[in-house]
Amino acid sequence: MSISRQDVQRMARLARLSLTDAELAQLQGQLGAIVEYMEQLRTVDTEDVAPDVAGLELTLAGRPDEVHAGLTTAQALGGAPDCTADSFCVPAFVDES
């Protein structure tokens, strides 16, 4: 099963990734070859096999629900490309008209 140009466009939209036409063409071929290679798993009988999650049986450790000191607001905002004194800024996404 090969990957169509529309498939790549759909994935790019889902992944919030804008692609040039040249990238689209190249990725279509490369992803097609990789997915074709992955097709070999279809030959494995997994009828009675339960999906694995982490490779081994993990006992997740809990911890007491206690408040610890975290980052300050200034620290959290320190690496942001755009912010005010207490919040991250993004382009407008609510249409006020």
């Binding site: 994935m11 290679y37 070999q40 798993l41 490779g55 320190g78 690496g79 490309p81 382009p91």
Partner: protein, 507 residues
């Protein structure tokens, strides 16, 4: 004195610094000088010159005041740039974690990874951050956004990846130790290609808190060293449960250094037929055979075993790892850190343009692949299928470990390949990981150690070869015992690019 300093083991440095016969400042300045001298090999993305010397000075002052020092007192260590270091540049090899595409504008995390805190408590000195494939996606270092690290045995060749810079720093003596991360072989393969020891701890053995996530069900932080004992010391320092990583194991941390001296007579070593097939370069096969002979001479018993699902490792891994990556990398959206593309458009356009400008080609490829295998209509055929095959791969190992104590194999099917050779063929690059991926999928403990240089052939000059040892999860002690036995026949060899240099321990 300079050469002798570079050649000292980490264990020796720590005991001399603690004993007052060597100054931490001297050791750290020497490592920094070696790092600067070998800068053309691209091992480091950033150095912490001033901070490292300052920390070394305080270590020397504490010793002079009669205070006790940690297990890695004064030991210079290099850190893969995927691990958060408070206030110091952290890029994960990507432009998206910089403001303007330059290392000078790199993100500076407001906190330390747990492993960094533990190294600090042990008085190790972080001297810099090392080069890597972008977001740890790659097997050659060529996916670094800042130019790749080069193999110190032949600068026209790859040092391996993704933790290539860490391997090169240790091979060159620009650091006594290094940390890398291994998702599908990213510590073991560069260790093999550069001739050093690399350890991928069992899943959950080391806290992932503060590691920039690639594939969360596979990622593990682990040591690079020039000797098995040095690697054991480092793992002992960083291993153990961390309340901030609920997947970190609560099982007891072993005495890995004692394990280096434990007898190996009678240890049963499984040799999986599937790891010695057609794709294995003959020069590597010869070196691995020499490593197996060392194990036999030390009294181990070699047992032929079968791991029939081995061939499915690559497909299974590249479905699961890309699926997890596509989710983990959603956080790089131009809002909280790094770069933001300025567009006239709205929020969605900002996301899409920021990610287009910030991510390199391999990262885009994997995000799209991961999105594909998770998307409606394909989830069952790819993602769910791969999770089931993952269980079969794990079951294979479980069955094998009922018959043997350890498994031995080549780490990489070939010696270091030429830079540029595989960049246009992602699938060929993925196949470089064929021997390391299955153990990652099964969460096992794994180690690669050098077994000498290959014979030069028409395809490859004489280059380092690695022997991979695998143990059941949390049985790292077995790895160190067997590796120490092999190491007696194959001590660390300094690469030509490291000169002036002397071998480990020579003073």
């Amino acid at each position: 004195m300079k050469d002798a300093l570079t050649g000292l083991s980490a264990v020796d440095v720590a005991s001399r610094v603690a004993g007052g016969t060597l100054s931490a400042v001297q050791v750290v300045e020497h490592a920094l000088a070696q790092a600067n001298r070998t800068a053309p090999l691209g091992a480091f993305l950033s150095l912490r010159d001033a901070e490292a010397v300052e920390q070394a000075r305080s270590i020397d002052a504490r010793r002079a005041a009669g205070k006790p020092l940690g297990r890695l007192a004064g030991v210079p260590i290099a850190i893969k740039d995927a691990i958060c270091t408070r206030g110091a540049p952290t890029t994960a090899g990507s432009k998206i974690l910089t403001q303007s595409g330059t290392l000078q504008s790199a993100w500076r995390p407001p906190y330390d990874a747990t492993v960094i805190a533990r190294l600090g408590a042990a008085d190790a000195v972080v001297i810099g951050k090392t080069n890597m494939d972008e977001f740890a996606m790659g097997s050659s270092n060529e996916n670094s956004a800042f130019g790749c690290a080069k193999n110190p045995w032949d600068p026209a060749r790859t040092p391996g990846g993704s933790s290539g810079g860490s391997a090169v720093a240790v091979a060159l003596g620009a650091a006594s130790l290094a940390l890398g991360s291994d998702t599908g072989g990213s510590i073991r393969q560069p260790a093999a290609l550069t001739g050093v020891v690399g350890v991928k701890p069992s899943y959950g053995r080391v806290s992932r808190f503060g590691l920039v996530a690639f594939a969360s069900s596979l990622d593990q932080i682990g040591p690079f060293a020039r000797s098995v004992r040095d690697a054991a010391r480092l793992l002992g320092v960083i291993a153990g449960h961390d309340p901030r990583d609920s997947t970190s194991s609560q099982s007891a941390v072993g005495d890995y250094e004692a394990a280096c001296d434990a007898p190996v007579r009678g240890l049963r070593i499984g040799i999986p037929k599937q790891y010695f097939g057609d794709g294995l370069d003959s020069a590597i096969r010869d070196r691995v055979q020499a490593g197996l002979t060392s194990l036999e001479r030390a009294g181990c018993v070699l047992v032929d075993i079968e791991l029939p699902t081995t061939d499915y490792g690559v497909a299974t891994y590249y479905i699961l790892a890309t699926a997890e990556a596509s989710s983990n990398l959603a956080r790089f959206d131009g809002v909280r850190f790094g770069a933001r593309a300025t567009t006239g458009g709205g929020l969605d356009a900002m996301y899409a343009e920021t990610r287009a400008a910030g991510f390199g080609p391999e990262v885009k490829r994997r995000i799209l692949l991961g999105t594909y295998v998770l998307s409606a209509g394909y989830y069952d055929a790819y993602y769910d299928k791969a999770r089931r095959v993952r269980r079969l791969i794990r079951d294979d190992f479980t069955a094998a470990f009922e018959k043997v104590d350890l498994i031995a194999s080549p780490t990489s099917p070939t010696p270091a390949f030429a830079l540029g050779e595989r960049v246009d063929d992602p699938l060929a690059m993925y196949l470089a990981d064929v021997y390391t991926l299955p153990a990652s999928l099964a969460g096992l403990a794994a180690l690669s150690l050098p077994v000498g240089l290959t014979e030069a052939t028409a395809r490859f000059p004489a280059l380092p070869a690695g022997l991979q040892l695998l143990a059941p999860a949390y049985e790292e002690c077995r790895l160190f015992s067997a590796a120490a036995a092999v190491e007696r026949d194959f001590p660390y060899l300094p690469p030509p690019a490291a000169a002036p240099f002397t071998a480990t321990g020579a003073v």
